[in-house]
Subunit: 428 residues, 2 copies
């Protein structure tokens, strides 16, 4: 009779969503010697096809979410992903007085503040440590080891697909399209990888990090996302001349009432923590007023690492429930800063031109007219004159200063591709 | 009347020990807008000389520990360090029903299990997140983001003094003695730096990490500690030939009922996370059954970063007390494994000899007689024949296999310094 209340000390857990992460979570729970957590329900569509022999016989398999929410479970693990029906399930669970653990980044990025308030009102817990950077324990650090600091900045490599592709181009100098196909073949990228490549995935994660770490409410859409599709293998050659490589970086800096935020490809020093991240690993660097910079590196995706984050949250919530800590307070210190992408930074401008005399002079003229300063001009030999890549780097200036100059450059008739402008991150 | 019970929601905190870290903790508490923590006492010898204008007037300054323990404080922060009188103060505080936050690595390394049991018996909390790696939030991760995993290995750069010295020799090829003097001049090493250089400090930290992360009770003295004093600038030249550099590495691997543990200089790949740690930073890498490897990097010492760890623990304990979570359970899953330093690893053997014919043949003979396999022989040109350094690397073998061979080598008359044998860590 799994639906009857159990004896004290045991927390009943229902799993909704039995994909890769769900199976890994169930496996950890079933293999654990800790009997204080008891898996009571596994809920999924076509559940008959999902059954696993290693799941104890007293676990209820069902495709009926309502029966789970109406049962005596204490904690619901939501691993369906996406907004619909996940949002409604999480709201219903909280309204039914059940705590929720989720790995759903879209849900938390969009509705995190509301859902946290609902959870607090209901005396429940809502944890989402697995929603960013998989198993890398940065979100839990915000409520434990870093909570004594006052954080003002977060920067990270948050999308494993982009990092796989960029580090492949870096190491093999293959074209972007080939690196993407390889990532798809190896299961590191979906058939439609737009969310990853164009920054949608990373900015949802950045919004969650900003909420949990900087106490700043940020709509994901308000963060500028630049695609990595514009990056060419030749950019790694020119970046190397500058001691740099390219990575998709997500960053948020809180300065007064403004949150400076950006997601997209950046130049980073090759020997920096960011420059060294290979394959599909994730790295998050937090900057605090007292503790300085802390870096967290690990597997940002995959069933098992993500499941560790889910089970860790589960244990935290179970312990809090066990301790009678139902009176979690409504987060009161969440601000709603203005969002800006107007970072002051040095810039890398890469041109592809049909070569002819006077091109550099014309570009230098535009740059000077906008009161920008050229730091270096790089042109490697050996390229076809009809499609010649070269680079101008600029001394630090605000994005808003650069933008009008880029607009003038966009209409020059010798350009055969749009100008690629990338921030150069000298720090970290 | 600071000694009268306060209204609910405020946790009273006493600070015992007002050195660098104590001042930084007080500063964070006094600058915080969070009024749920209230500093009520600061206790130190010669307290009159310690008073600071930025501390609120209602904080009691005292040199009388007993008056603090007899007051209504909820949490005692012990920042005296050392075993005596810190141990007695912590025991007395717990016996008086007060929770304790401490940064005291010697105390926790030696008495952690006992003190945790005492705390549990008294319904109190004992946290020590600042006792290892300063502000790097690895200990808190064991109770949050990593608690869903089953960890089997921990390795780290845990001593900033050693890392400062080794990375200075690496970068400037200065003699060990010069690097040490520089570290002392800059405040990175004490006048008597034996605890740091000879591994005593790091193995105390390793014992704490093993307790909190691997649930293994380890007496610090039972862990082999090798000194970094034997490292010479020339070792960095030879290590570079192998793609490696040298770092003081502390590692613990749980295999069945045995904990393999070692502290001391090792060769690590230059482009590995360990090889890249510069200056006095700390790095901890945890290895879990499900989540794989996670790396934590940051400032391992210094007043402010360490204070972040203390204040983070303080907030955790205050929240637990506020939630009525007094019934913390006695840690029941702590094992007492056998401790061994008998790792199987490739080895780096460095000789300083008075050159003459037949030396390599003699060494090769000893190595073969012990069934060990030479992987490479390195001899760089340009050294004085009367004090010639050269290197033999061995294929992986257990420490116990190597040891008798080293004993035979120790008595060879052409050696003018003891043979230096260092593990080569190829992983991570």
């Amino acid at each position: 009779m799994p639906d009857a209340p159990l004896n004290g000390g045991t927390t009943r857990v229902a799993l909704i969503g039995f994909g890769t992460v769900g199976r890994a979570v169930a496996k950890i729970l079933c293999e654990s010697t800790d009997k204080s957590l008891r898996l009571t329900h596994i809920c999924n569509r076509n559940v008959e096809k999902k059954k696993q022999p290693w799941v104890p016989a007293n676990v209820i398999w069902t495709d009926d979410v309502q029966s789970v929410l109406g049962s005596h479970v204490d904690i619901v693990i939501e691993l369906i992903g996406g907004l619909n029906p996940a949002e409604q399930i999480v709201r219903s669970a909280l309204q039914a007085g059940k705590s929720v653990v989720t790995a759903n980044k879209q849900l938390i990025a969009r509705h995190g503040t509301d859902l946290l308030q609902l959870a607090a009102k209901q005396g429940c817990h809502l944890e989402f440590g697995a929603s960013v950077a998989g198993g890398v324990p940065v979100l839990p650090a915000f409520r434990t080891g870093l909570c004594g600091d006052r954080l003002h900045g977060i920067a990270g490599i948050l999308n494993g697909t982009c990092n796989y592709i960029l580090s492949r181009i870096e190491n093999a100098r293959i074209p972007f399209s080939e690196a993407l196909e390889e990532a798809q073949a190896r299961g590191y990228a979906e058939a439609d990888a737009s969310e990853d490549l164009d920054g949608g995935d990373a900015r949802a994660k950045l919004a969650i990090l900003a909420l949990a770490g900087l106490h700043a409410r940020v709509a994901p859409e308000s963060v500028r996302a630049r695609s990595i599709r514009t990056v060419d293998a030749v950019d790694f050659d020119y970046a190397a001349e500058l001691g740099c490589t390219l990575r998709q970086i997500s960053r948020a800096d809180l300065k007064g009432d403004t949150l400076f935020a950006d997601v997209g490809p950046c130049l980073v020093p090759t020997d920096s923590p960011f420059g060294r991240v290979q394959r599909n690993l994730n790295l998050v660097v937090t900057s605090g007023q007292y503790g300085g910079d802390m870096a967290f590196l690990g597997a940002g995706a995959g069933g098992d690492p993500t499941a560790v984050a889910v089970v860790s949250d589960l244990k935290f919530v179970a312990e809090a429930i066990g301790a009678g800590a139902g009176k979690r307070e409504v987060p009161s210190n969440v601000s709603a800063p203005a969002i800006s992408s107007d970072f002051e930074t040095p810039w890398y401008l890469r041109f592809f031109v049909r070569d002819r005399p006077g091109i550099v002079a014309r570009l230098a003229q535009i740059i000077a007219a906008h009161h920008l300063n050229i730091d270096s001009l790089l042109q490697k030999p050996g390229f076809d004159k009809s499609s010649l890549p070269f680079v101008i780097t600029l001394e630090p200036c605000r994005d808003a200063m650069l933008h009008p100059a880029l607009e003038e450059m966009a209409i020059l008739d010798f350009s055969i591709r749009p100008v690629l402008s990338l921030p150069i991150l000298r720090q970290s």
